[in-house]
């Protein structure tokens, strides 16, 4: 009998209400070793756990992008929701859409140039193909009480209505047994989430339209309140800083190819990289000012011209956000489980 390995983070992990349902992270190589496909593996895991669970599959050899346009190594392959020991046959499972980055895509999605220039052979995995999903809006899978939304990055219990954000970088750290940051979104992350780039097949919606430097929420001074109360799991700030630096070194310019999210602006400013300040829209500025990251102040403040090593070292000081933050080792909050399949 074959064995299937996955990492399980139990319901309740995190700050406040924490994770509303269990979370299983699965390396697609382990699925292949077990002689299964992702859907069959999701069914086996759901049958083992029996309670509401989000199950996310990763291809660590593929790449994806964060919503602010950064190249991320390792990518979601598929996502599932299980409950009562099963995966809903119609709504419980979706594959992410594999894409090959071509030069023709770069005019519309200029942030993809990092992939085109650096690793064109890598498969780009984003959200699902909208033609394959049966619900009208969300990129979500659902079974019973379990809702796994935004292509596996926002999990909910549709009965208790609790919710937690699990952006992709944090999950990639967790599945590789490294450290993650647990906390509450707070005002900064609440506002930052809106600063995204235009993407086809994004994790949150099939056609995300937002020029770098703009905000998708346009919520002005209310931006810090939108998701402030939600628990979240993210990558440590030094990891985020390293991803931002990699994008900057690849020629990505904040508010031109990548977003004007506060972390992007602050890291770029600390290093002395060019930022296209005039591309930051009035609406985006309102949101940034509401979290004390005022682009008009920042552009008139001389860069400290730190080295990238210094920025990574001081990432916790440079990058704001996450309340009640607690840095934890993957093995403190999750464990690797092996089941017979």
């Amino acid at each position: 009998m074959a064995k299937l390995k996955f990492r399980l983070m139990p319901k309740g992990t995190g700050v406040k209400t924490g994770l509303p349902i269990h979370l299983a992270l699965v390396d697609i190589k382990d699925v292949e070793k077990a002689g299964l496909d992702a859907k069959a593996a999701a069914e086996k895991i759901a049958a083992e756990v029996k309670e509401p669970i989000a199950i996310n599959f990763f291809n660590l050899d593929a790449v994806t992008t964060s919503s602010d346009g950064l190249l991320v190594r390792g990518a979601p392959k598929a996502f599932a929701a299980g409950d009562y020991g099963k995966i809903h046959p119609e709504f419980g499972f979706l594959y992410c859409k594999p894409r090959k980055v071509t030069e023709e895509m770069l005019d519309f999605e200029p942030h993809l140039r990092q992939i085109f220039d650096k690793c064109p052979e890598k498969e780009l995995m984003c959200g699902p193909d909208e033609a394959e999903k049966l619900i009208p809006l969300h990129n979500a899978v659902m079974t019973g009480r379990a809702v796994n939304n935004n292509s596996g990055t926002e999990v909910m219990n549709s009965v208790t209505m609790e919710e937690m954000l699990i952006p992709i970088m944090g999950q990639l750290e967790l599945i590789q047994g490294r450290e993650v940051l647990l906390g509450l979104c707070g005002g900064v992350v609440s506002a930052a989430l809106a600063h995204v780039v235009t993407e086809n097949f994004s994790r949150s919606q099939p056609r995300l339209r937002c020029n770098p430097g703009d905000t998708i929420h346009r919520s002005g001074e209310h931006a810090p309140k939108l998701k402030a109360h939600l628990p979240i799991m993210v990558a440590p700030k030094k990891v985020l800083a390293a991803y931002i630096i990699e994008a900057l070194e690849a020629g990505m310019v904040p508010a031109r190819e990548i977003s004007s999210a506060p972390a992007v602006l602050l890291v770029a400013h600390a290093l002395g990289y060019t930022i296209i300040w005039d591309n930051i829209t009035v609406e985006a500025k309102k949101e940034l000012k509401a979290i004390n990251v005022d682009p008009d102040v920042l552009r008139n403040t001389p860069s400290p011209k730190l080295t990238k090593e210094q920025v990574i070292e001081k990432a916790d000081e440079i990058i704001p956000g996450i309340e009640q933050a607690r840095l934890v080792k993957a093995d403190e909050i999750s464990k690797v489980i092996t089941i017979e399949v």
């Binding site: 409950d83 709504f91 049966l134 619900i135 009208p136 969300h138 659902m142 079974t143 009965v159």
Partner: protein, 126 residues
Amino acid sequence: MRLMHTALPEFILKIKQTVMNFSPAKSVIIRGLESLKSGKFQTLRTGRIQVAVADLASQKDIDKLELVIVPRVPETMHSIIIKGYDASGKPVKAIVESINIIHPTEDIELEGFKEVEDRRPPLGDH
């Protein structure tokens, strides 16, 4: 029959009558239609539901039935109509908006049942 439609009150009556036909001591609770004031139900499927109700009501070990209606697709799209009236109750202005609601799937209603017979056709084959 395929293209005929059954009115909401008749649908409710048919379900209750189907149970009563087996025994006046048996009862049925209908949930999920509370906010509907009117509606036309597919007659062919109303008949199929009556058959299902009869199948359970005819079982000697079943005394109480529950008929629950939930969205088959667990994300539903709705129009929201916001209406404003003057002091005399005369309509002044309305705004129509849209919202999507995420629901649990039908599985939450099936907790504890060892025997579940799914008679639904696949989505799109109605």
